[in-house]
Amino acid sequence: MTEATAAATGGRDREGIAVRLARDLRDGYVVNLGVGIPLLIPRYIPADVEVILHAENGVLGLGPPAPAGHEDPDLTDAGKQPATLIAGAAIVDSAMSFAIVRGGHLDVTVLGALQVSARGDLANWYVPGRNPAVGGAMDLVAGAREVWAVMEHVDRGGRPKIVEQCTFPLTGREVVTRVYTDLAIFHIADGRLRLTECAPGIGPAAIRERTAAPYIEDFDTDDRQDR
C-alpha cells in the first residue's frame, strides 16, 4: 500500500509501524534488524530499554550510522553502510556471528516480508524472475527465538500479503511469530494466526477484508504476561 492509500484508509505509516514495534522490544533483548522499515526502529526504542543490535557481518552492539567524515572502512553494518559501535560492543567472525543467530541467542529478528502465511511461513528473499540473493535471511528465521515480520498489509496491487499459502519462494517454514503492518498486529503460535491489535482508526472489518487467511480475533492478549 502506498503512503497515499494508507493515509486515505487510516492506519500507520512506515514511521508509525516502527514506533509501535519499538514499544514491544524488551530491556536486554538482542535484536537483528533487516533493511527497510526495521532500520527505522532504533530511534524509537524507549530510553529505559537497552537493546543490543546484532549485524550479520559480525557486530554485536551496533550503534547509529557513522556521521559524515567519521566513516571507517573497517566498520560497516550488514548493509555495508559505515557504522559505529556502542560501548560494550563485540566483534566476531561470520561463523560466530551465525552461531549467535542459529544457536537461539538472538531474541528477535525483524524482517521485511513479501508474504506471511497463516502458519508463519515467510517469503521475503526472492521474486522469481528477479536476481536471486539470500544473504543471512534463512539463517535468521531458522535461528532467532522470535521472527517479527514488518510489511504493508497489502501489496501495491491491493492484494493481501497475509495469505493461506505463500506463492513466493519461502525463506523459512512456520517461523514468523508476529506480523506488524500499517493496519494491524498479528501473533502466530502453534500454527494459529491471531489478530491482537488494530491500528488507530482501523476497524476489524477493514482488516478482515484485506487478509486472505483465517484468523481469530484476540484483543485481550498481553504479551508482557506471556513472557
Binding site: A55, V92, M138, A142
Partner: protein, 249 residues
C-alpha cells in the same frame, strides 16, 4: 626459521592454476584482499571456482575477476552486482547460492575437518529442495540445478545436510600479520577472513602492516599462522592505529 613473508604477489600467486577453487574473505569491500585479487587477475587465470560471501557493487575485487570472465562458478550468499546476473542467466557462470551462515559454517567445517553438518537454515526452501538453478545454458534455459540436500529431523524439526568446503587456495586480508603468519583483524573487516583462511589448502594473507615475530601477543592473535602459508603486504594500507572501536556517543 619460518618466514612466510613474500614481497611479490605475482610470484607468490603464480602456482594458482586455471580451474582452481579459491575461497576469498571480505564482506563487500570491507576486509576484501584486493591486492591479491588484482594479482590473480594479472596472472590471466580462467575457470575459477570462487567461494566468497558477496561480489561487491563495482568492478574492483571479485567484480574485476567477474568482469574479466575468469569465474566459472560462484559460491556465495549475496552476489548483487547486476552484471553478475547477466552472466549467470546467459550461462557464462554458475551460481551456488548458499545462506550466509551456512556458507560461513561450511568454510569453518572444511578447515576444521568436519565433512558435513546438519543445519535448520534453508530447510523447506528452494535452496535445499533441488529446484534452484545452478546454471543456465546459452539459450537462457536451466541447464543444471543445485542438488537437493539430505534431510533429517532433530527435535521435531527438519534439518539439511551441508558439506564442509575445502578450497585449493584461499585469499584473505588482515590488519596485522607477522612472519609466522599469525593474523589480527580490525573491526568488522574480520568477517569471513578467518574462515576462508581455514578452508584453503594453501592460504595467502595480505596484511596492512607486517609486524615482527613476537610483536603480536599470543592472546591477541585472531588466527594462528598454522592456517596461513604466505604473507604479503596490502598495497593500500590505513595508518596503524590502536584497535579501539569508534564508539557512538
Amino acid at each position: 626459521m619460518i618466514d612466510k613473508f613474500r614481497a611479490d604477489p605475482a610470484d607468490a600467486l603464480a602456482p594458482i592454476p586455471s580451474g582452481a577453487s579459491v575461497a576469498v574473505g571480505g564482506f563487500g569491500s570491507s576486509g576484501r584482499p584486493d591486492t591479491l585479487l588484482d594479482a590473480l587477475c594479472d596472472l590471466d587465470r580462467r575457470d575459477l571456482h570462487v567461494i566468497v560471501n558477496n561480489v561487491g557493487s563495482d568492478f574492483t575485487g571479485i567484480g574485476r575477476l567477474l568482469a574479466e570472465g575468469r569465474i566459472r562458478r560462484l559460491t556465495a550468499s549475496f552476489p548483487v552486482l547486476p552484471e553478475f546476473y547477466d552472466d549467470y542467466f546467459a550461462g557464462r557462470v554458475e551460481l551456488e547460492l548458499i545462506p550466509q551462515g551456512t556458507l560461513a559454517e561450511r568454510l569453518r567445517a572444511g578447515g576444521a575437518g568436519i565433512a558435513a553438518f546438519y543445519t535448520p537454515s534453508g530447510a523447506g526452501t528452494m535452496l535445499s529442495d533441488g529446484e534452484f538453478p545452478l546454471g543456465y545454458d546459452a539459450d537462457g534455459d536451466i541447464a543444471v540445478r543445485m542438488p537437493a540436500r539430505e534431510r533429517r529431523e532433530f527435535g521435531g524439526r527438519e534439518h539439511i545436510l551441508e558439506y564442509g568446503i575445502v578450497a585449493d587456495y584461499a585469499l584473505v586480508k588482515a590488519y596485522l600479520g607477522d612472519p609466522k603468519g599469525n593474523l589480527r583483524f580490525r573491526l568488522s573487516a574480520r568477517n569471513f577472513n578467518p574462515l576462508a583462511a581455514m578452508a584453503g589448502r594453501h592460504t595467502f594473507a595480505e596484511v596492512e602492516h607486517l609486524v615482527g615475530t613476537g610483536e603480536l601477543q599470543p592472546d591477541d592473535i585472531h588466527l594462528p599462522g598454522v592456517f596461513v602459508d604466505e604473507v604479503l603486504l596490502a598495497s593500500e594500507r590505513s595508518p596503524r592505529q590502536p584497535t579501539i572501536a569508534r564508539l557512538s556517543s
